[in-house]
């Protein structure tokens, strides 16, 4: 039964996995990149990151000291019954998981007026959507400050088209990549509305690397990856070809006058985990 408690327990499980285990698809992409990276310094950085993943896994310590904000997306079957408010139950799970796994508390009470640390990494940032049937899919992302800070959103004119989207993604990478811990996973959202397009870009970071998205999306992703890896920024921003391990794009309907585009940077330690609640 996917009630609020079961969902919170899934969040707790996902936090432990995501903080200390590099996603298998990301690790595989990194290993493949290390084989072909032409820059010696770039290879040295990639080797360090691969070794880092091994140490984190073995010693059960965080991949990165910035263990992030907790972003949660719950897709719940309409036949389920939450039974309780989701926010406090998930916050309790975050509090307990961050202490149990010795993660860093990185949330302040208010962006502007009270920047004192909440001390337990709450609140979680939650979105809830419904789906047919029973059960729930719980996606968790621990989002680092450096990579989220390196993200950007723009409202293009529709006439800018695919070329305009490519130009914006590339410009964002060139301007901001070095602070986002490359090799990156670049999440791109196109369409929907001003507020929703950033969410599309973030959700794109959940899409596994290593297989092409279908149709035109896959073509665009490959073109973008080629452009990004032509910048020379490279691993850790210290020069090389592996600026990104992947670019993932999600598109949506939008207003006749609009072409919203968002880029959400994922770092070399992009941390997401998905748990099915049945």
């Amino acid at each position: 039964m996917a009630d609020a408690r079961a969902i919170a327990s899934a969040v707790s499980e996902a936090i432990g996995v995501a903080a200390t285990s590099l996603r298998p698809d990301v690790l595989a992409s990194m290993r493949a990149a290390a084989e072909v990276e032409p820059s010696a310094r770039g290879r040295s950085v990639l080797a360090q990151l691969i070794k880092n993943a091994e140490i984190a896994e073995t010693d059960h310590v965080p991949l990165c000291q910035d263990t992030g904000t907790v972003w949660v997306r719950v897709e719940i079957g309409v036949e389920e019954h939450l039974g309780e408010l989701l926010q406090p139950v998930i916050d309790a799970a975050v509090r307990e998981a961050y202490r149990a796994h010795a993660l860093r508390m990185s949330v302040v009470r208010d962006g502007l007026f009270d920047r004192t640390n909440t001390g337990d990494n709450t609140p979680a940032f939650i979105e809830l959507v419904t789906r047919p049937g029973i059960g729930a899919t719980v996606h968790v992302m621990l989002k680092g400050g450096g990579s989220d800070n390196s993200s950007a959103l723009t409202m293009l004119d529709p006439s800018a088209g695919i070329e305009g989207v490519k130009e914006f993604v590339l410009r964002t990478v060139v301007e901001k990549a070095t602070g986002a811990c490359p090799p990156l996973v670049v999440g791109v959202g196109v369409g929907s509305t001003f507020d929703k397009v950033a969410g599309l870009a973030k959700r794109a970071l959940l899409v596994p690397l290593g297989s092409d998205s279908p149709g035109e999306t896959g073509v665009l992703e490959r073109e973008l990856l080629d452009l990004v890896n032509g910048t020379g920024i490279g691993p850790a921003g210290l020069g090389g070809r592996t600026t990104a391990l992947g670019v993932k794009v999600l598109t949506a309907p939008c207003h006749i006058a609009a072409l919203p585009v968002a880029v959400n940077m994922g770092c070399s330690a992009v941390r997401t985990a998905t748990v099915e609640v049945v």
């Binding site: 984190a56 000291q65 910035d66 020379g232």
Partner: protein
Amino acid sequence: MTDLVRITLPAGVEAFSGLVAGDEVLLSGPVYTARDATHARISEELERSGELPFGLKGKVLFYAGPTPAAAGRPVGSVGPTTAKRMDAFTPALLEAGIVATIGKGARSAGVRDACVRTGAVYLAAVGGSAALLATHVRSVEPVAWDDLGTEALVRMELDDFPVFVAIDASGADLYATAPAMWRRTEGE
């Protein structure tokens, strides 16, 4: 790229003067963790007294906020945070006697110029390799501002901690020059 260079801290700017942007360095000895909130406080103290507090003169700042101790180590994981957020404070701190900073990412022209004036260097650690970097931390000792939690000023004893020279004392900047070497041009 030259061979690995080993530097033992504390050391004056002379120890860094032979380094060239791109060199790989292994650092041992004490550094002091300081990030956003810590910088605001150090700068307040500097403005008030005209000197760096807590004997920071001649020392190295590491832009980092570690995770709690774990796996039998003094910190679970520790790696660099984005240096440019500290850029507004850095020139004054270098003038006051900080000899090197450790962080990640490109920095302002103001920081480059201050490196040239003072002989200080900016060292880049690899972001996202914090579990590995923590194995090069021998001990930690709180110095001040416990109320800042992970942003407290902490003395961290390093042991062959790997960094790259990102800005050398001549102002050469690896983040500005390295991508050009690997940029793919049209038609390639």
